[in-house]
């Protein structure tokens, strides 16, 4: 079967890398998922899309924070 913990680790690493390399200006803004396009709905429950955008932004911030030093 060969689905081991190591392959899970590899997959997780690749996913995080994929999220980190999404280009802000060329891609995310064009599909409306930019970091400044989502924050607004504080009076209601955040929907799935805004949660996803938040998640992507957080992952990218954490990854960026580790790079810059």
């Amino acid at each position: 079967m060969a689905f081991t913990l190591y392959s899970l680790l590899q997959a997780a690493l690749l996913c995080v890398n994929a999220i980190a390399v999404l280009h802000e200006e060329r891609f995310l803004k064009n599909i409306g998922w930019g970091t400044d396009q989502g924050i607004g709905g504080f009076e209601e429950e955040p929907g799935i899309k805004s949660q996803l955008m938040n998640l992507i932004r957080s992952v990218r911030t954490v990854m960026r924070g580790k790079k810059k030093n």
Partner: protein, 328 residues
């Protein structure tokens, strides 16, 4: 030399110590004789609701240490009589006390550091089980259709230990079931002449990887749907670990009686786990009103219902996926 009083006080293998616990606490009929740990001395309604096992923190172990010290001191003197003069010396008494305080400090340091990485105290709650609980829970896993009340009892805002409530999640059954699954997989492979020792590790790793993937996927979807739930990660691991019981049953029956029986037993266990998961998760994920059976309309509740159904439906799929290659 400084060790004996304290080690005797804390070792769980000394049978006489259990009796002394009962005497000290004045417990009336609370104790099921613990098969693996010391006798639990707290009941719901007694003074400390957070006490699962005997408290081995400094205050009480010092009490035990003082209690045991005469016995401890007596023990080396009885066994090593030429050293009795040496032990009676006040300087060596002081040295022993100093050494024991050093040992206590070291123990505190180690405990504090370990607690930072593995929440040991929280894990203790999940292993506070006894034989009756395990029996009832296994019965519930195979036949959840007649059970009426699925709500976990609370006691002053903390959930009651699994020993006292059959609905509470525990980690004992999933851990044991996982290990048994790996062994049964080895057995099944052996009967088909496909066994080699590294395959055991591969099976264990594979099952763990699927479990981790499930936990991550469910945590991600719980985050996306913004469910305010008290379902902790360890709870989730416990619930997801219950399917190993059905898997073991299916594979064993399949080994004994053939493929048809394997499919029958696995099908039965799959349906049981499906119902079990839905009834358990419904109370944790869905809103209060919906959990009581009143269909609450609304997009959010519908989403939560889909999430519960998806989690429950993933269990039979994984049960089949992880066992079908073992029964040929």
């Amino acid at each position: 030399m400084a060790g004996p009083p304290r080690r005797l006080a804390r070792s769980p293998q000394v049978g006489g110590h259990e009796v002394r616990d009962l005497e000290l606490r004045g417990v009336h009929g609370a104790g099921m004789p613990a098969s693996k740990r010391r006798v639990p001395v707290s009941q719901p309604g007694m003074t400390d609701p957070h006490q699962l096992f005997d408290d081995t923190s400094s205050a009480q172990s010092r009490g035990y240490g003082a209690q045991r010290a005469p016995g401890g001191l007596g023990y080396p003197t009885a066994s090593a009589s030429p050293q009795s003069a040496f032990l009676g010396d006040p300087v060596s008494n002081m040295a022993m006390a100093y050494g024991s305080s050093l040992a206590a400090q070291g123990k505190e340091l180690v405990d504090k550091n370990i607690d930072r990485f593995i929440p040991v105290t929280k894990l203790k709650y999940y292993f506070a089980v006894d034989t009756m609980y395990v029996g009832k829970k296994l019965g519930l896993l195979f036949f959840p259709y007649l059970h009426q009340d699925w709500e976990v009892q609370y006691q002053q805002d903390t959930p009651v230990a699994p020993r006292f409530d059959v609905n509470a999640p525990d980690l004992y059954i999933p851990a044991m079931a996982f290990i048994t699954y790996v062994l049964v997989a080895g057995l099944a492979l052996g009967t088909q002449d496909r066994f080699s020792p590294d395959l055991l590790g591969l099976q264990a790793s594979s099952a763990l990887a699927w479990l981790t993937l499930e936990v991550l996927a469910i945590l991600l979807s719980l985050y996306l749907v913004t469910v305010n739930t008290d379902l902790t990660t360890i709870d989730l691991v416990a619930f997801l670990g219950y399917k190993y019981v059905g898997m073991i049953g299916g594979v064993l029956m399949g080994l004994l009686f053939g493929k048809v029986v394997y499919y029958l037993v696995l099908g039965w266990c799959c349906v049981s786990i499906f119902v079990f998961m839905i009834r358990t998760l419904r109370l944790k994920i869905l809103a209060e009103a919906a959990a009581e059976g009143i269909p609450v309309r609304g997009a959010r509740n519908q989403l939560r219902m889909y999430l519960t159904m998806a989690v429950a439906a993933a269990q039979p799929l994984l049960m089949y996926w992880l066992t079908f290659h073992l029964v040929r």
